[in-house]
Structure formats: C-alpha cells, structure tokens
C-alpha cells in the first residue's frame, strides 16, 4: 500500500480520535488571522488609496509648468482611464476697489475625477455638492473675495479681457490643500473661457495638470508607462505622495494591523509548538509498534511527512475560509466607511495563509515528528526505554527559523522584523532561565513546607522541562492578553490622542510682520488660545558642504523636485512641541551660533548628514550654517512644521512672512470672514477635509486592529489550554500512584492549586514585564507615540493570572482526581 494511502487513513483515524484537535485549532487560528488581515488590507488599501485620491481629485496627477503633450491624455483614454485637465495660475482681479491677487484654476467638464466639489448658491445658503466645475461664462469665488472686492453673486468681474458672471461661492475643492503655501484667494473658471481672457500664453507661469482615474492596476500600468516619458519640469504624484499627513496615518494603520497579525502568529506559534510536543509524546508507542510490525524508517518518514503536509494543507485551507469570513464580517462592520463597492479580495492572501500554515507546522512539528521514526522497536517490549528526543539545536533552529521567516515576511518592515526577532528570542531565553530558577527555588522550599504546599512545589520541581513548557505556554497566553490591553488602552488611545478633537483645522499664511501682534490679539479675543505664530522665510538649497545642489544629482524624483523648489525655512529658540530630536542637539537661546536643524525624512532624501554645512539662497544672498540636529516630525499632528529650522541669528534679519494654525469650531466659522476683512492679505486655509480623512483612518484603523486582536485572544486562550494539557499525561500516572498510596483527594486538589497558582504568578510576572517592555518599544520606536506605564497592568497581570491559571489548571485536572486510581494507572500504561 502506498505511503499516501496509509497517511490518509492514519490522518483520518488520528482526527477521529481527537488527537489533532489542539494542533488544528492553533493552525486554523494562525492562518485565519493572517488571511483575514491579508484579505482586509488588500481591499482596504484600495479604499484608502481611493479616499486619498479624493484629496488630489484623481488617482494620479501629472503636473507640469508647460502645457502637457496631448499624447499623455490620449494614451490614458486608450487604456480606459478617465482624464481631466486643470490649469492654475495667478492673476490680479481689478474692480473699482483695490486690485486683488488671486489664484485662478481653470477646469474642464470632467473635473473632479475623485472627491467632491461644493458650492453655495448665495452667501446665506448651505453649501451643496456640484457635479462639475463652473459652466462657460461663469466663475466661482472663495467667499472672502466678496467683501474684499465688495462684489455680490450675480455680479460680473473681469478676468483678463473677459467679463465673467459670479455664479456661486466655492466652499470646497477636493484638491484645495495641494499648493499649501502662498496661495491667494481662489477663483475657479471653465477652461472654455481661458482663451478669451488672454492671460495664458506659451511662456506664462502656470501649473498644468492632467488628472487620471480608473482601475488601480490600469493606473499603475499607466504610471509605469508615463514615468520614463516625463520631462524635467513634469512630475507624477499619487495621493500618498501628495499628502504626507494622509499617507502617515494610513502607514500607521497598516503597521498596527501587521503588528496584530504578528502577535497572533507568535502566540499561535507557541500553541502549535505545545500541541506538536504533545502529539509526538503520544505517538511514541504507536511508532514502536509499527516498527515491530515491520515498518521501515523511510516508510515511516514518508508517512509522517505526508500526513503532516496533508494535515497542514487542510487546516490551512479551513483557516483561509475562517479568515475570509472574518474579513467579510469586518468589512460589514466598517461598511459605512468603506462603502458598498469595495473591490473584491484577491487570491494572494490564500497563498500567504497556506504558506504560513505549512511553515509554522513544519518548523515546529517536523523535527520532533521525524525524530519519532528513530524510536526503537524494543520500546514495544520495554516501556522504560524513552522516546528519542529531537536534538535541541535542530528543533531550535527549525522553530526559530520558521518564526524568523514568518516575522520577516509578515512585518514588511525589516527593522521592525529584526527588533521583533531579537525581542522574541530575548523573551524566550529570559523565560526559560526564570522558570528554571523558579523550579530550583521550589525544590529548595519543598523540604521546608508541609502538606499541600510540599506536594504542589514538589510537583513543579519534579518536571523542569514540563514546567518550562507549561509556564512558557501560560506566559505567552497572558502576554497576548496583556499586550492587547497595552495596545488597546495605551497605544491606540495615544494614536487617537495624537489627533485630538481640537487639532488645528485652519492655517493662516502670508501674515505680514506688522500683522503678527494685531492678529495674535484678534485670535485671543476670539477665544483662540493655542495659535503659535512662526516666521517663514523662502530659500533655495544651493549647497551641501562644498557641493552645488543640482536636480540632476538625484535619481529619486522627490529629491529632484526638492532640489529645484524653494524651502520654507523658520527659526526659533525651541523645537516644535511634536518634534523629536533623534540626532545631535538643539541650540540654546536667541544668540546661539548659526546652525540648522533638519527633518529626518528630507535629510535622507537629499543625503544630508549631521555636521554637513548647508547653504540657502535667500533674497539674493547666501546664508549658511552646519546641521547640528536631525528631527522626526509628526506630520499628521496638523501643527505647523518645517523641514529646516535655523537658530535665530541666522534668519531673523531676513524678510519673513508668518504662519499659524489653530482649531476653529464649526459654529465659529464666521470668524474667517471677519479675519479676511481685518487682515486682507492673510490667507486662511481650511484643512478640515484632510483632517477628517485622517481622523477617519485612525478611528477605523483602531476598530480593525481590535477586530484582528480577537484572534490573538483566541490564540492566547488556546496556548494556555495547551499548557495545561501538556502535563496531563504525566499527572495521570502520578495521581493514580499518589491516590493508591493513600493521598486524599482534597490534598491533591490543594497541591494542584498551589502548583498552578505558582506557575500562574510567575507566568503573569514575566508576561507583565514583557508586555510593558513591548508596549514601550512599540510606542517609542515604531509608532512614535507617547507611552505611559500602567500600574494596573501589573496588578491584573500578576495577581489575575495567578488566580485564573490556579483555577483553570485545577479545574482542568480535577477529572483525574474523581476517577478511580486504577483507571488512571491503566490509562497511563
């Protein structure tokens, strides 16, 4: 009979006997968690990308300072993509009053491809969505222009040579936050009227944009096609590139989700290891008999391998099914946010899930199972011959290798993966050493105590390897639950708090120096306390040390753009509150020597290191100084932030405008009109839309992470159950003998309670230490969030787990005590 058929039959029989349930449950949970997150992120990333798209009114925007060749739009259309074109330029509107610099955007009838355009028909009505931009012959204006120019809806204003009717007040453009600084009041018109204005000639300064939208893959393929065809003055941007705040929030959400999956993977991996260990122990006699009956090793090896792979495949596919169902449930729970037309999940997570299941199983279970084939047939005659132990090094290398491989694969972040691997290995070593220490302590105490204490502590001391497995199992289970508490209570809250309800939703830019004090008073009078005003100076980076900065020096398109554009520089005596110095030191005081502090991201992009000397060209002269610190900036805090900040002496004499950001409650929005009247040159910028998007990503991300953590809880409970089960075989014989020798049921019950409570307390203590350390590391290193130590975690972790495991272990073992001792002895063989 072929090994295949025997494997199948044995697998079916093992399943029926219940031997494989624990291992199957551990495997199904692991694969379900991995695939649920896979399916979910697959679909949600598409949604998030689409929501991000609303912020640039398209999926991809091609931008150029000269007219874009027709071929680009034509190619997009032939690929089945939608296109729209916009043109932005500055002009001056002249009425009877003062001339007013405005930012004009001419749009075609297809604009916007993504997101919503909103207008008000007159000053008093609510705003409503507009399906497309203004019709020909009409303009829409920002509301603050009406008092500035003393005009009304229905009036006509001249744009260049053409008078156009004011059709509505423009309240929201999906991509309004795009040109963030130095924007004048906004005006929108139809491209059809552009020619008649006479404002745009071949050499005019204008920004031409081709907007593209459509199926994600088609857009990606189009991007691949267009990238090599872009001239030096052209660039292509997706939502995440255009909006760092949004990308930063999405990235954190994805990190949290992957972290949740990894935690589940680690915990379920422990359950798989414990379950495999038990399976191997129970199979030793069967193998000895099969060898007696004439089964050669190579046949047994084939049988075990096939059986394991078959089992792994089936359990993984069941796990995939649960993962898919869980993902469908999660999508249902978030349907208000994700919308109805979520793209279908791809099949890729199934491959990932099955591969994860097999790697887990083979890594943890294969070495001990293969070792089983070395069982001597003599064991069938002589029970005193133990089963062969897998060489510790081989088992460790296989299990550690499988874990490391899965972490590296799942983390999708090399530095996170290595930290996790180091953390897990460190935790395991600490765990083993601590348990061995406890076992030794229990052994010493045994001689000094009596009664149930003696029995209980002796039971712990008698089985050092069993205690390591058992307390390890408990510890990992509790760690999962505590980590969940840390992430749920501390990290996720810290994340939500990083964007408080009063996060700035308005920016004021172009504040003139003489307006700073009156504006501060104005804001204070309006009850706006938190609006720090920062100076802003425009300058172009011309040198890094002696090297001239040329766009052609950089291959990265972002670096190339940065090398051509002007930076917004600032100066001050303190770093912004949400900045973190990661290298070097901040200067002290007003008179500190000339120096710069640079944001880490831009430093990396442009190749700037600590100690480099930067030279900026500001208003016709060079300003230079060394880089003395590098800062991490929390871009999604919505506070004013700068890539480059200087010590005051370097920039305080340069011509500056000022910038601030503050939170304005919706009911106070009338303040903006008042502000525009009092400070006509100041440009208010409403970032409520992007703020809302980021907040939504955070809130839904938190929900999704909590959902995925449900798998971690399941895995945690499972590993604890496996920990209790691990010692059941040994206990069966032991209790049979002790009871036969006259030990009372009550005394045995008490000793069980002592043993399990001691194990629970130690496991709880270790788990609390690891949970706090992990929480701190995650907050500080990975999520850049504030972390606060939580005393309750220790109380619940140590006392709670002592109590819970004491109770659960005693209850689970209780059935052994109520059956007649002879039955226990017989079953133990």
């Amino acid at each position: 009979m072929s090994a295949w058929r025997i494997s199948l039959r044995l697998l079916r029989r093992d399943w029926r006997s219940g031997e494989l349930y624990l291992l199957a449950a551990a495997l199904v949970i692991t694969v379900a968690a991995v695939t649920a997150v896979g399916f979910f992120t697959d679909r949600v990333e598409a949604t998030m990308e689409r929501q991000g798209s609303e912020l640039i009114a398209s999926d991809l925007a091609i931008q150029s300072s000269t007219p874009l060749p027709e071929t680009l739009a034509d190619e997009a259309k032939t690929r089945g993509l939608s296109t729209a074109q916009t043109l932005e330029f500055r002009s001056v509107l002249v009425t009877d009053q003062t001339p007013q610099l405005v930012n004009i955007k001419a749009v075609d009838s297809a604009y916007p491809l993504r997101g919503e355009l909103r207008i008000r028909a007159n000053a008093d009505t609510q705003d409503a969505p507009a399906p497309q931009g203004p019709p020909a012959g009409e303009v829409w204006l920002e509301s603050r222009l009406l008092p500035l120019l003393q005009i009304q809806i229905g009036d006509r204003i001249k744009i260049g040579e053409t008078p156009l009717r004011i059709g509505a007040i423009l309240t929201r453009e999906p991509d309004e936050g795009r040109s963030f600084f130095n924007i004048a009041p906004r005006v929108m018109m139809n491209t059809a009227d552009l020619k008649a204005t006479g404002l745009i000639g071949p050499a005019s300064r204008a920004t031409h944009r081709l907007l593209i939208a459509g199926d994600a893959e088609a857009v990606a393929r189009y991007r691949d096609w267009i990238e090599p065809r872009l001239a030096a003055n052209m660039s292509a941007e997706s939502a995440s590139e255009a909006r760092p705040e949004f990308a930063s929030a999405v990235e954190r959400a994805a990190r949290f989700l992957h972290l949740a999956t990894l935690t589940t993977l680690l915990v379920a991996g422990a359950a798989i290891a414990l379950a495999s260990h038990r399976l191997v122990e129970r199979q030793t006699d069967a193998v000895a008999i099969m060898r007696c009956l004439g089964a050669p090793r190579r046949l047994l090896t084939r049988i075990f391998l096939l059986r394991l792979v078959l089992f792994g495949l089936i359990a993984s596919l069941v796990g995939c099914l649960f993962g898919w169902l869980a993902q469908a449930g999660l999508v249902g729970a978030l349907s208000d946010w994700l919308g109805e037309d979520l793209p279908p999940a791809s099949a890729a997570p199934i491959v990932t899930g099955v591969a994860t299941g097999l790697i887990c199983l083979l890594g943890f279970a294969l070495p001990p199972l293969l070792q089983l084939t070395r069982v001597t047939p003599l064991r069938a005659l002589r029970r005193d011959i133990g089963g062969p132990k897998a060489p510790a090094a081989l088992a460790l290398v296989a299990a550690g290798g499988a874990l490391a491989l899965l972490i590296l694969w799942q983390a999708q972040d090399l530095s996170l993966a290595w930290k996790l691997i180091a953390g897990v290995m460190g935790a395991l070593v600490t765990l083993v050493l601590s348990v061995l220490l406890l076992v030794r302590l229990a052994g010493r105490l045994t001689g000094r105590v009596r009664g149930i204490w003696r029995l209980g502590l002796a039971a712990l001391a008698r089985r050092p390897s069993g205690a390591v497995l058992q307390i390890g199992g408990f510890g990992i289970g509790i760690l999962a639950l505590l980590l969940l508490a840390v992430v749920r209570l501390d990290l996720l809250h810290a994340w939500q708090d990083s964007l408080p309800t009063d996060a700035p939703n308005y920016f004021l830019i172009n504040i003139q120096p003489e307006e700073v004090e009156p504006l501060r008073d104005f804001l204070a009078e309006a009850g706006i306390e938190r609006a720090p005003i920062y100076p802003m100076i425009r300058g172009r980076l011309t040198r890094i040390n002696a090297h001239e900065v040329e766009p052609s020096d950089y291959e990265d398109p972002r670096a190339e753009r940065l090398a051509t554009r002007e930076f917004n520089l600032s100066y001050g005596t303190e770093p912004q509150p949400d900045n973190r110095i990661v290298a070097g030191n901040w200067w002290s005081g007003e008179e500190a020597p000339p120096q710069f502090s640079v944001e880490t991201g831009i430093a990396e992009t442009l190749g700037i290191a600590l100690g480099d000397r930067l030279t900026f060209w500001i208003s016709g002269h060079a300003v230079s100084g060394p880089v003395t610190s590098l800062r991490e900036v929390q871009w999604d805090s919505f506070n004013v932030n700068f890539f480059v900040t200087a010590s005051p002496v370097l920039l305080r004499d340069e011509a500056a405008t000022y910038i601030t950001s503050f939170h304005l409650a919706h009911e106070n929005e009338g303040l903006v009109a008042e502000l525009s009247r009092r400070f006509p040159s100041v440009t208010p910028l409403d970032v409520d839309a992007i703020l809302g998007q980021v907040r939504q990503v955070i809130d839904r991300g938190v929900l999704a992470v909590e959902y995925v953590f449900a798998f971690t809880i399941l895995a945690g409970l499972l590993v604890m159950y496996a920990g209790i089960q691990a010692s059941l075989e040994d206990r069966r014989a032991e209790h049979g003998i002790l009871r036969t020798l006259g030990t009372g049921r009550r005394a045995l019950l008490g000793s069980l309670a002592v043993e399990f409570t001691a194990a629970g307390l130690l496991a709880g203590l270790l788990a609390s230490i690891f949970a706090e350390a992990t929480g701190w590391l995650l907050a500080e290193q990975l999520f850049e969030l504030e972390f606060s130590f939580n005393p309750w975690l220790w109380v619940v972790g140590v006392l709670g787990s002592g109590l819970a495991i004491g109770l659960a272990g005693t209850l689970a073992t209780y059935p052994l005590l109520i059956r007649p001792p002879l039955q226990s002895l017989r079953q133990a063989g």
Partner: protein, 215 residues
Amino acid sequence: MGKHVNGPAGGLTILEGLDLEIDAGEAVAILGASGSGKSTLLSLLAGLDDASAGEVWLCDRRIGDLDEDGRAELRAGRVGFVFQNFQLLPTLTARENVLLPLELTGTANAAERADSALERVGLTARAGHYPRQLSGGEQQRIAIARAYAPRPSVLFADEPTGNLDQQTGEQIIDLLLDLRQASDAALILVTHDPRLAERCDRRLRMRDGRLETLA
C-alpha cells in the same frame, strides 16, 4: 550468542553462551524468573535488539548483517508479536489495529483478511470499538488477531497472559495455540507460568543468563 550491557554499576552479562534452534511450526516456551533475561532473548530473536556476541538467524537471514530497516523489512509479514500489555494503538478501532500490519506491508485483500482474523478470535461484533472500550481479554484477542492476520512464519509472545486473570489467560492460550496450529507458524512464548509452558512442544528455562532444556 550472548548479551552484555554496560551500566552505571559496571558491566552486566544478561545472556551467555546460548545455542538455540527453533524449527518451523514448533512451539517453544521459555520459562524463567523475573529478570532472568527471557524478554531480552525474545528481543534478540525478533531482531529488535543486537546481540553482543554470536549470531541470530531469522527466516534464513542473519540478523547481524541487516540494518534497522532491513530487519523491519524482514519482520514485515513474517513475524507477529503478542505483548503482555497488548500494545494496541489507542486511536485505532479493533479492526483498524488488525488492519495496520497488513496495510504497512501492502497486503492484497487486507480488509477481508482483517475481518477473517477478527472472526477467528470471535470479536467481529467489537470490530468498531476502541481499545479503551474493550476488556483486557478482548484487547489481547485483538492483539492475537493482529499478530496472525499477516500469516506470519514466527510468532513471538511476551507474557501474553501476564495481565489477565487465570480463566481469561487460559482462553488466550487456547486461542494462541489453535491459531498456531492452523497457520503452522513457529511460536516462541516467554512466560513464567509452568502450566502454559506444558502445552508447548519444547520447554526451556532461563537461569543466570543461560538456557537449559526441561524434560
């Protein structure tokens, strides 16, 4: 043939100067007190263990020439075992336990042969039961069915009645000898029960690691 082991307290000779030949179809009882080396002799004869000196031939093959897998292949289908503690696989039903050696050797008509073996031991009605649901006597009958189902040339029985009461033990011996006669297999029976030994063709006693023939 001899068997010598090294332990923490120094060397120990378990078997020494043994010379034994068992013919096809012969029933041989090996008697002896506990620890006299009976089971060790059985394990050497079955190729489960290595002799320290001398050689063992089984079914015309010298066991010392074979590696572990070669010995397993030699045993497959030719050697049956009955153990004192039955050694049924707890996760398999009675019928599946009987089927196992037939499946491992790829025997044709395995199912029919397993059913007929169960019928011979009178446990067809218990075919679907697991070992834990059977009495000690029933478990040993299943073990005998498993041992005879592949129609072996040699059957080794290690204290087959050691875990059973006297009456059940006698039934088991009847069954073992009946089946032996029907199959014409050699039976090597290790026991310390003289009454059981009486029913075999030849009786040997182990004493101080040596064999002596009893009248």
